[in-house]
Amino acid sequence: MNMNRRRWLIHLVLRALAHRKGRTLLLLAVLAMASSLATALGIVSSSMEKRVAEEVRKYGANLIVIPESARLDIGSGGLNFGVVSEPAYLQQRPVEEALAKSGLKAEVSFHLRGALHMKDADIMVEGVNFSDIRRLFPWWQLKGNWPAAGETVVGNDLASRMKLKAGDVVELVGINSKILLRISGIVSSGGEEDDLLFMALPELQQALGLGGRLTLVRLMVTAGGSSLKTCASSLQMLMPTAKVSEVRQTARTSEGLLAKVKLLMLMVTAVVLVSAGSSVAGTMSTTVLERGKEIGLMKAMGGTRREVILIFCGEAVMLGVLGGVAGYLFGSVIAQFITKTVFASSAEFIPWIAVISMGVSLFLALLGSIGPMISVFKLDPVRSLRGE
């Protein structure tokens, strides 16, 4: 005994769709394509927005303080090897005082960069406080351990150039003294850090004879309310001998690229949606025209107009749901492809986007069926059965 009307309706719809395999596949493809583009758009924009925000946070040492006279290369800051003739330095103490006075909520990291002798070569050494580094640059990848006292970490490129590995002991020669440091780890950041040797700030200051001097201060200001610009200018007021500037270049580029990609995808999606909608409408009305006799028969058997329309709506909904599922899967692949090729990173898995793709697909399927449904409603059983 099979007495469930709903189950029967689904069965009927599936039978009808299976009967016209070619057309069903075509409709499914169209719907899946439209919804997959919408899905891809959603995934790319939402996951890349997050990524860009993260990037802002990353480079988000978002303010840097450098000595007035030094030439600035954004993101690198500091001395070029060979131009050390008249190096300029920041005084650590006034900077700390200025920061305290400004009342900014910021993560701070002090940097001093200089050259030390090692095995008859000069190498760039950066003095930092490792605890600050770990907070401000969480993306640094470290093979080995963070250094304890008397230890150091070496940038990836430098390490391979000088054939250094963790556990080695290096001898560095400064102005006043020799320092022996054990390498505790190799660091790679994908940036200029890969070419540097890092050691504790006070040790470097002593080695270079530059007690209390800095070449660069990186700040990560959590700009609540007030903009970064106002933070920068207020800090500038307190430090007349230094130069405070924003670091946003990298993030801006990504934002711009994201905006362009989004616009492109939006346009493509719009075009696809319109053409998909019209092709769904076209296919659906042909189907209904061809099935005139069937509709007439259903009406002659005693189906009310509502019941007959329900069957055809069921087909549209079924197509919409299947198209939505396929679109979501396919769209995720597209999104992955786009983020891989354009942004060189992978897209996230975002489940709620499935709602969007389902919605787009269902909307198209039902919108395309409105016209055909009206003709189903109006169809006269007598004439259609006679074959007119």
């Binding site: 005994m1 099979n2 007495m3 469930n4 009307r5 029967w8 309706l9 069965h11 009927l12 039978r15 009808a16 299976a18 009967h19 006799k293 069937e294 007439g296 028969l297 259903m298 009406k299 002659a300 058997m301 005693g302 189906g303 009310t304 107009r305 509502r306 019941e307 059983p381 007598v382 059965l385 074959g387």
Partner: protein, 224 residues
């Protein structure tokens, strides 16, 4: 005295200027087998559509089974059709993507709820127990027509309408179908109205009326 299941009074149907059915008075007593004969275009199909609730008359009154068909709404007519009438067509009209048993279940679905077991036994009753799962394309004309008969009577209609049901069948199948109908009528006691232009088929009925150009020209009672 047997009550009339169909009563028409001045029943008229015209399409624009063309009058397909001139005012017609007709009484069909319950349980009768009425054959309607005439050339094509004589108005016999129009009469059948009107009586079956598929079409509305332009004038006159029409009562079928005590129900005034003119007073019924579109949905009311649909309800009338599913509960009161079974129709068999010349071209069978089966849903091509459904199997024989599913075609019968479709009628059940529109009537109330589908019931596969009952649909099966209905097909067994018309001698198609071995072809339950076949699609219309895999059935012969006679077999298709028998499926249609099973479908037409599945909801126990009071009135069975046949629109040249044997028009597309060879002689052997025709006899088979007519015998089946006769048998079923004996069990279910429905009224039959059968449109045909085949004298032999008409002879299966109790009474034959002849239509010409929308006018009832002659009436003939069979002796059995």
């Amino acid at each position: 005295m047997v009550e009339s299941i169909i009563e028409t009074n001045g029943l008229t149907r015209s399409y624009g200027d063309i009058c397909a059915l001139k005012p017609l008075d007709l009484q069909v007593p319950e349980g009768e087998w009425l054959s309607v004969m005439g050339h094509s275009g004589s108005g016999k199909s129009t009469l059948m559509n009107l009586v079956g609730g598929l079409d509305r008359p332009t004038a006159g009154s029409l009562r079928v089974g005590g129900e005034d068909l003119l007073a019924l709404s579109e949905d009311g007519l649909a309800r009338f059709r599913r509960e009161f009438v079974g129709i068999i067509f010349q071209q069978h009209h089966m849903v091509p993507y459904l199997t024989a048993v599913e075609n019968v279940m479709l009628a059940q679905y529109f009537h109330s709820v589908p019931d596969e077991a009952e649909a099966r036994s209905a097909l067994e009753r018309v001698g198609l127990g071995h072809r339950l799962k076949n699609r219309p394309g895999e059935l012969s004309g006679g077999e298709q027509q028998r499926v249609c008969i099973a479908r037409a009577i599945i909801n126990s209609p009071k009135l069975l309408l046949g629109d040249e049901p044997t028009g597309n069948l060879d002689h052997k199948s025709t006899v088979m179908v007519m015998e089946l109908l006769k048998e079923l009528r004996a069990e279910e006691r429905f009224t039959v109205i059968m449109v045909t232009h085949n004298q032999d088929v008409a002879a299966w009925g109790d009474r034959t009326i002849y239509l010409d150009d929308g006018v009832l020209v002659r009436e003939e009672r069979m002796k059995s």
